[in-house]
Symmetry: D2
Subunit: 344 residues, 4 copies
């Protein structure tokens, strides 16, 4: 269609790419012309993914096809994305990287938590951390977006107003993260094997989740106060959804807490604060790009508690990537993202 | 917005109504102005259903609000819908009834299978059975649509080309229906209690499912050949999705079988035939209005087998209702229904 | 069989009672002669619960049948159990109450958290809190056991060695509780409705869970140090299993932490400490009466974290009740409880 | 313990082996001395499978350790088991093979459906098909048992009384098989990947399931009437449980049908017929070795329908293997198998 910008999705066989396809098929200003997968090059998309039969009638392309596109979404694993980006920079494309490669400014921290060689320093500094709620103005001018991690998105949105307004004692933040299995991607492992995961919950990656430094860096920047964070992640017997329940020592009143979140989110298109005092459930945002948040001040025990839920593939990945793209291009921020949460 | 027709959804607290809301929020030619629930009248929709917070800012209305609308979707239980319709007929509204009240032409059959007093005969005869694949031309002229049952939709679409082309011996059709729990609605019962249903499959309503006479009547009309059908329904530990696996004695070749289905569905916007010989899974249509179909001729044992899958709330209810509405109004049949299946 | 003691289960249609039946059918020293349900009196057990067909060939009895039994397990709701016990005290029976009625020594606290009239003070003081790991000697002499709550069992076992050894700062304990749906019993509610709960996680009863005062009282007694506790409970899309992830400010070393738990549990028949540093998953104890525990000292952020898992119907209810019964009668503590966890 | 026979389990890392361990830990006449896994030789069992921590304190052995045992259960994949058996035949051990290698008397049929080189003919003829309900007397004298397949067990038990009593027209049997994911074992594949399988049902291996010839051969022998069978298998979003819903053209009355099943199963310890007319659900046999069966004669459509449910790892594998072992040794048939189904 005339006037549409052309988009490419790189990493076309993973769940992040499939979710991008789901969104972009109905985006009013973007046309998804190019789905790239090195391993599936030349294969029919609709045959490989029968849910796309009659919707995608083209085949997977190789990496060279990306350069001609106006917007390139990279949904490749950490360590791969940062190697692809330099090959694209001659082009004038806008690039949105969904991997963790460009999220940390300190190379040593990246190496320590990812166990990979850090990406080029200049490239990292060029990238803008794409969390619109705290970074919208910078995103507007960016050419290269580093899209936030799924746990990090829920963790930061769930906690930064409290930290910023000094309603929680720094150094006391403990986060309990709960994720559906699709967060682990399509790669097979015993942790994603149905019989091992169904009717089971499991604490994993204790003391070692790579979203911890991301949360510390960007929660600190958003709140203007640096604080260490402990995050324990848990695998849930469900496909989609993340909840981060955050705890800390309360340093303010229930009223101040409500006020801090209302103020922070009243004009946000995708972050919905529950004034009711009720806590959100992951199903409230299923299949959509919303982040729903509830807070509680337990004066009895001196505890502050917040609950933030997202769909890990939407606000935690593809949905947020498209939100960033909309901001970069001056389109209405919700373009292509107006799907109502699927309930039940 | 100027030029949009106004729509009402009646029965606004059930899953059928919630799914209609999900669709109609993004319909290009309809504006959902009115959500009706007698029991919730006056209550805020977004408070009652937090997933709709910020999306619906109005409150539930009572039945009187329906008459002013151009299109009325009735998602009320059997026995209730047929009592509501006469109160609306003074209006010029198009009416789409999602219940089973108007699907059977024989009042005695209705009474025997539903255990309810049959609806007014004239009203029933006025209603058009809204299965577009077999009834599109009549739907175009209709004012009152009887939207098909979820099992019936999958059963008829999965079998009528074979019956019509005489590739199966009449009188030998046995259908194994498998449904997600949302098909039972929001009403609480032990059958929908999580701990009783999770990690469990269950055969239910043996010899007594009210979709049996609906399948027999409308499969017969679609195929031009009347045949009794046996349907055994089973409850699955999942929320959404129906699969009907149909069996019968083979009376043709594998090639004829493929040909019959290709021909029947090649121009259908929502019914996708798998030429590949692979069988569809319910996830291939999750959250969308597609019906995916695969067929197999087992010459070794003389068996014909077909598999049809739908999302019971979409092609099995709300999606098909909107498809019918689009046809009645001369809009593109897929208007508001272009959501890509959610995968995974 | 000669020499067996006779047992009754009161509340025979709930999940706690069903689990007691499952255990007692194979107990070497107890014969389950009497299953009591007021609402089902006279009905055949095997017809009501087909999984018991051919196993139980008797019918539900009324309350009067209990008095003749040597051991009476009461699996009735809070508020009911404490009314039944006085009717039984003329008998010489040992009584094990699975409800929360007798767990709190302070009547005002009971009333505040349960919203019910508190039980008779003398009866409460007569009851022994049946958590063998911290109370074994007192249980040995008891006639009336108050069986711990499911969350409380996992919470106390997961945290008391750390508190006792002063490895955590008092007043900083925050517990994240995650439970399967069977913890809510067979009573129907929207929270236990399959379509609302499947593919969903939900924080519930914020600031108000009745196990909070139970944890505070009995964790305090076990550790010799009183500390307030914050507990946020979450509903998981699974039938069985509880995990309590506990957090607090670290006040010791990783080595001390390991040592505290090894010492506390090395001779316990049902509490298994993971020396490996790996965290347990709920499936490791599925269908068994084990409590598995892992601990972690995050010196980087100054956080202590422990994970405790149980099967809520076993160590969290029926299994622990039988363990208490075994102790009271001087039988091997594992009698009737040697089932291997079901995996997968 | 004195007087116990010694048992070995070969294939100790798969689900069949784990289930054998679960049973044999509590068998009154067998001691599980030896768990064999080539790939895990020397590794601690309790570390590899934390649910067995403190229960198994030994390590995995290699194949040579088997020969000294009185009973050897082989839970290895098809194609492997038949190669192991000759290495054991010098010993006097009783051998129970859980694989499909020895179930088919015709080598060509084996090769056609398994796609593997057929096992030695003499060995196959020496093996007794271990379905006690139809073969008990022969099992009593056997030294080598071929344990039935999971689908085949439910299929044959669900249908043979009807076929034997000529209540169904031969040549019209169509079976709809539904299985939990554990039936596919611990081997990773996209079909057992959580995100692909959860909230999904899928028809698979159309026209090609290797249990088809097994059902035809042994249903034919049991009933005394050979008939082809069509079986369509489906994957369910649950871990354990198989249901086979069988259909065919009715050739008798409802009364004759009830009578045929009552007579066939009235003295069976593990096969329970539902006289009530209600259909069983898989949860009724969860974790136990029961097979529950319900039948229905639909005279309206001329259809006979039966439903048979088992736990695929118990009556469909390990439980039936132990039942066979009990028969071979003259022990009570239910020895070690008296676990009550776990509900919920």
């Amino acid at each position: 269609m005339t006037g549409l910008k052309q988009a490419a999705v790189v990493g076309g066989t993973g769940y992040g790419a499939l979710e991008l396809i789901r969104i972009l098929e109905n985006h009013p200003f973007l046309e998804l012309t190019t789905v790239i997968s090195q391993s599936e090059e030349g294969n029919d998309i609709g045959e490989r993914y029968p849910h796309l039969q009659t919707i995608r009638t083209d085949s997977f392309k190789n990496m060279e096809a990306a350069a001609a596109c106006d917007v390139i979404f990279i949904a490749a694993p950490a360590g791969v994305a940062s190697k692809l980006i330099p090959t694209l920079s001659a082009s004038k494309s806008q690039i949105i990287d969904l991997s963790g490669d460009l999220r940390l400014e300190d190379s040593d921290v990246y190496e320590a938590w990812y166990g990979l060689e850090p990406p080029d320093k200049a490239m990292q500094q060029h990238a803008v951390y794409g969390l619109p709620e705290v970074n919208r103005e910078t995103i507007r001018e960016a050419r290269l977006i580093s899209n936030p991690g799924c746990f990090a998105t829920a963790a930061i949105l769930g906690m930064y107003p409290a930290v910023k307004q000094q309603l929680i004692e720094p150094g006391t933040i403990m986060m309990d993260g709960k994720t559906g299995v699709s967060g682990a991607g399509r790669k097979m492992s015993m942790m994603t094997h149905f019989s091992e995961t169904n009717e089971n919950i499991k604490a994993y990656r204790t003391g070692a989740h790579q979203h911890v430094p991301e949360i510390e860096e960007h929660l600190g920047k958003a709140a203007g106060i640096q604080t260490p964070v402990y995050l324990q992640t848990h695998l849930m017997p469900m496909t989609r959804g993340i909840m981060v329940t955050s705890y800390g020592r309360l340093a303010g009143s229930a009223t101040e807490l409500q006020q801090a979140y209302e103020t922070a989110y009243e004009h946000e298109p995708f972050t919905r604060f529950r004034k009711s005092g009720l806590m959100p459930q992951t199903k409230d945002v299923y299949g959509s790009s919303y982040c729903d948040i509830g807070v509680f001040a337990d004066e009895r025990s001196g505890t502050l508690m917040t609950v933030a839920v997202i769909d890990n593939l939407m606000k935690g990945a593809a949905g947020q990537a498209v939100q960033n793209c909309n901001i970069m291009n001056g389109w209405a921020e919700y373009s292509g993202l107006q799907m109502v949460p699927q309930y039940p």
